[in-house]
Subunit: 396 residues, 2 copies
Amino acid sequence: MYNITPIDGGLATVPGFYCGSVNVGLRPDTSQGDVAFIRSDRLCDVAAVFTSNRFQAAPIRHYQRYPDGFQTDFILINAKNANAMTGEAGIRDIDTILDALGKKIDVTHPIMSSTGVIGYRLPTEKIITAFDRLDFEACNSDATARAILTTDTFKKEVACDVTFGDGRSFRIAAIAKGAGMIDPAMATMLAFIVTDADVPRDEMEMLLRDGADASFNRISVDGDTSTNDTALLLSNHASGVYDREAFREGLRYVMFELAMMILRDGEGSTKVVAFDIKGAASTDDARKAAVALSNSLLVKTALFGEDPNWGRIASTIGSAGIACDEETLRIHYDDVLIYAPEQRELDREREEIAYRVMQQDTFTVTCDLGMGEGGYTAYGCDLSYDYVKINAEYRT
Amino acid sequence: MYNITPIDGGLATVPGFYCGSVNVGLRPDTSQGDVAFIRSDRLCDVAAVFTSNRFQAAPIRHYQRYPDGFQTDFILINAKNANAMTGEAGIRDIDTILDALGKKIDVTHPIMSSTGVIGYRLPTEKIITAFDRLDFEACNSDATARAILTTDTFKKEVACDVTFGDGRSFRIAAIAKGAGMIDPAMATMLAFIVTDADVPRDEMEMLLRDGADASFNRISVDGDTSTNDTALLLSNHASGVYDREAFREGLRYVMFELAMMILRDGEGSTKVVAFDIKGAASTDDARKAAVALSNSLLVKTALFGEDPNWGRIASTIGSAGIACDEETLRIHYDDVLIYAPEQRELDREREEIAYRVMQQDTFTVTCDLGMGEGGYTAYGCDLSYDYVKINAEYRT
């Protein structure tokens, strides 16, 4: 038996971890950091999942040059510049920065992570100035969570204790950034997760992938996938406590909460909608339908308009390349039946009820395909004027 | 040798065809028709391509119940109601309407086509009132082209003469509707094409599919595919003239012009952009990259913002699931080199030139992947505030 208890606080609430940030001039607003670090007082095992984008950014390629099974005690993160599409020079820039770091503090296999605009070399000199100003013994979780943000409007931070009946426990804490360019198949974001659970290193990647499949890979803001998507998991084993199922659930909890925060912060979004597919011929069919709904511009604009136009839901399912039949389909918005073969036209009364469901900040669109046992839930948001504004003006 | 000459005029410029429209109250603006017909004075061979959406609308399923190789002399079209997701009742409604038509005029295998909102039964009584008011000898091409529109802001009509050195000729004329829900893989639209070319019936479908692949299947407004997409080709053979290559080119010309009109009328779009992929490892890779670019929200909003942010182009190609490499990629906006491995960062001068290219109503984004010989061109438009407005408020 175990319990998962949310706790306040961020990365530094996990024993043995330090974090902090500084502004070196990458971000005009100097009240917010743009270079951040996460440090462990001992070597950690590490697992990572990265973007499926073929143009992986330099920090990802740099990470992959470390030997299999390497351990680390340091992550350096910068905002405002993705160090993507910068070729070998981008990787050399990371070496330059990490060499300079190594002259200030003893680090092993330091990892770099970047987010921001694609196509520009990192300002290495500016970033290196951070090392004179950072306090590597700091526990500034809040500032660290804020320093990694780009178009985000709020910080994403979550932590929990996993406790067992006999009083043993471990802790998991995490931060993330992400608001746009969020797509299933590794949402476009950075996430850093630290734990003192004594998780065996050979289970870490599997568990991280499982967590991503249940969280970041189920959310969509705009259907695009970036060059820099990264989720990192560091374990310092300090608690000496581990139980696979308990850790899996704790990790899923933390990652799902981060994913929902990213979706709530979806650029210009005003509501979060769960697309729950049931009765599909297969899980794969269910996933295709759920993802298609969460990505459809016509569905997303109807959500923004709070228009109970179920025809767009049906049309999107019909074009998802899956087995479906209008004679077996049933659509609900929360508990309200919107479409069934025996009740096709939406009368004024049900339309009014459906409209009230859609006015909520969050609700569920359930589609029972009536074809089999396959199920999947994906999460999306609406598309507003502000999405266009934010993304038309991003660089200017 | 043959020449393709654009001509003024619409469907009725092809000898033997009549067309007209009337407003029966489906559309509030009574100055525009909402029920239209296209009639031939003799039986025509017919070919069709339909939506790949699994929820095919009732008119498509009604058409498919006619015997293989059937001939027709009549098409009836209504706007404002798609007769989709209406089950068997929707097909019976078509029978009711066409039975009433048959009492007014002698028709053979009449075809019905519908566009508009999904999920409501056709108002059969209202539509039947049209038959007392329509002049079946009319040649009102312009009114017909306008009667089939929904969110379109202008009519789509094109015609051409295909003439040979010896003075023989045939004619092709066509109309279309479509402005939103336009996706490659059969753009969401209706198109009606008539000709007096003596095209063999067993070549018609192949030629129509070829034309669709080079036109409607290459355009994207919002990546959604509807329940009603239809392109119909009718030939009355009246000219007695035919040459396969000449007809293929004439048909391609007519269909491509319609597709570009649909894209220019893309809901809220302000510019049309060609995405020209070269040097892909295969034609399929090139197609995937071109389609991904034409569908990407981040690319579309950058086009609207006239922001030469090539990172979004690169990121979209990288996530298209194709072979690519940042060391061989080259991106041009018209003739302006935007990205090359040896010239990655956009300096102020080139950025200014790129910005001027993007201010045009239409331009070409060329991406040479440097991986092989595959090429494909798709066409897209930008995403503006007005797209959101139009689609958030569509039904209200």
